[in-house]
Every structure is written in structure tokens, then in C-alpha cells.
Symmetry: C2
Subunit: 191 residues, 2 copies
Amino acid sequence: MNALQALTERRTIRLFQQRPVADADLATVINAARVTSCASNRQPLRYIAIRTQPLVDQVLAETAWAALVAPKRTPVPGKTAPAAFIAIIAPADAKPITYADAGASIQSMQIAAWTLGLGCCWLGAIKRENLHNILNLAPEKQAIFLLAIGYPAEQPVSEDVAGDASIAYYLDDANRLHVPKIRLEDLVDWR
Amino acid sequence: MNALQALTERRTIRLFQQRPVADADLATVINAARVTSCASNRQPLRYIAIRTQPLVDQVLAETAWAALVAPKRTPVPGKTAPAAFIAIIAPADAKPITYADAGASIQSMQIAAWTLGLGCCWLGAIKRENLHNILNLAPEKQAIFLLAIGYPAEQPVSEDVAGDASIAYYLDDANRLHVPKIRLEDLVDWR
């Protein structure tokens, strides 16, 4: 898939087919994170590929999904759950720059996944203490973010809106997710 | 360009051809940031496209570049300087999650730029107070990061290393930049 197409057509996915993701595909996704820019090339992040039961369900139980469309976009084990999670592991005392590194790596993984026909949801509302125990992390580490991944079972749409319009995402009568994005002309100042 | 190729072949560029970048290309790059994932779809970031003189030189003067290879990878105005900067503008009191949003948007821009034949350098070592004045930002805003952009005048290489090896980047005798990246097997824990 063309890179510009992947960048612009990718949508966050919250409903998944009940179909496994090949380890080779997960490796391709994490490899995209591996070669992503990071501050001073320090490479502070590590990754846990979570794709066996019951661990996937245990991790799912520690996540919260898009509040404005709950519970319709909260995956249900055995029905709409992601096949896997990638836990992004960072130092427990991560500074803001490490959050920036994590965001960059996650976006690389989302783009790589999309080219493989996979959908992702970047999860920040996670119970980190519980995950720390479930994943048996060292005291000086944390699961800074999770990335849910699987074959999409929904087709969200993006729509351009003015900078002063509502950007609240919503479900229409056909249960399709709409995601308003501020139009380019209202985001950029040309100098 | 294929997305997986762009993700893995992209390198950070710090020496640039003295050739302008079309506004249409800058718009394509910033549009990739526009549709990037962000927490709760809040879209807290704005962008300033800086591509006129003397503003580009003024901004360049407020940046610091890869310390380990200075001054050979510190761009010189009129010789190796980037054609443009994209300033990523965030609330002055940005929380870590906004840094994550910024990292994701910057990675999207770097991938989009690479597909257009452009190179980028994500800059975090910037004099934010001076930039605040130069860019005439509102008090509640900050330039959280800069992205330098232009046509590449170097071809850095990445090399895979073990997790316990040195990850210090370096210039070889031919003035080529080498960037060690920890190999995948030492970054991922499979569960």
C-alpha cells in the first residue's frame, strides 16, 4: 500500500474479527516501531507482544475504550475483541520526551498494521498498576500505552470540519463511527 | 512509495540541498499529521509552516543538532540548511499525553515527507522562549517541537546491534552517519 494512502485512510478500529494475527505480521508491525525516530537515538522503549489466551482477555479487562460511544465500541471477549495487544514498555519515571517517542513508535505501528489489513486502537486509559502485575514487569518499568490489534470488523469514516465546529466523534443510525477532523486550512499558519 | 518501505528506509536528515520545498508538498506533509491518532480525538496541535527568509534562518539559530556529531551535522545557513521548518504548536501547559500526540503527528509527517523525496529532522533541543517571541505566539501556546524539512544532502545508514551494544551514532571516515538500532529480538517479549 502506498504510504500517503495508508497515512490518510487509516482509522482507529475498535471492533475486530475473531481471527488470529500471524506472529510474522506482529513482528513487521513492531519492527516499524523499532526504526522510528527517538530522542538522541536512546531507544528507551520495549515491547510485549500479547497474543495468547487467557492473557489477551486479562489485558482487555484493564482497558477503557472511547467514552463517547461506549458500550458500542467496547470490545467483547469472544465477539469483537482484538486478537492481540502490543504493550509499549517504558521507564516508570518516563519524562514527556519518552511519551513523544512512544507516540511516534505507535503511529509507525499503526501505519504498518494498516498496510497488512490490520486495524489498531491506541489505548491510554489503562489500569497501569494492574497491568504491571499481569505482565510481571520489573519495578522500574511501566506499560506506558497499549496498542490493540486485529482484523477490522468496522469501517469508521473521517469528516473534515471547521476549526470551531464540534470534534466529538459519534455513531450514526447504521452504527458507523464518524470522526470529525479539523480541516487543514484551520490548522496551519503559513509564514 | 510502499508504506512499509517508507517506514523502514526513512532516516533522519541533517544536511540539506539548497532547494525550496513546494507549499503543496508541505501541505501534504501537514495533512498527514492532521489525520493522525490523538487522545480522545481532541486535536490539540496546530502547525506553523515556516518557509520564507529570513524567518527560516532566525528559527535555525534557535536549534541544537545531534550533539555526538557536531558540528558536522549542524546545518549552515546558505550551505546545508533545511528549506523549511514546521513548528508544532501546543498548549503551554501540555501534559505528557500531548507530547505523545505530537510524537505521533511528527512521525506521520516524517513518513509523508520521505515519500515525497524529502528528509526531516525532529528537533527537541530548541530555545522555546526565543521561538515564542520570533513566532509571535499567544502566551498560552508553545512551540513544543520543530520539524526541519528539505531535500536530503546525506545518506545515513542504520545498522542492527545487540541490546547491550553501544547505540551511539557516529560518522565514518567518508562522513557518512551510522545509526545503531537495537535488533528486534532484543526489543520484544512474546507472550
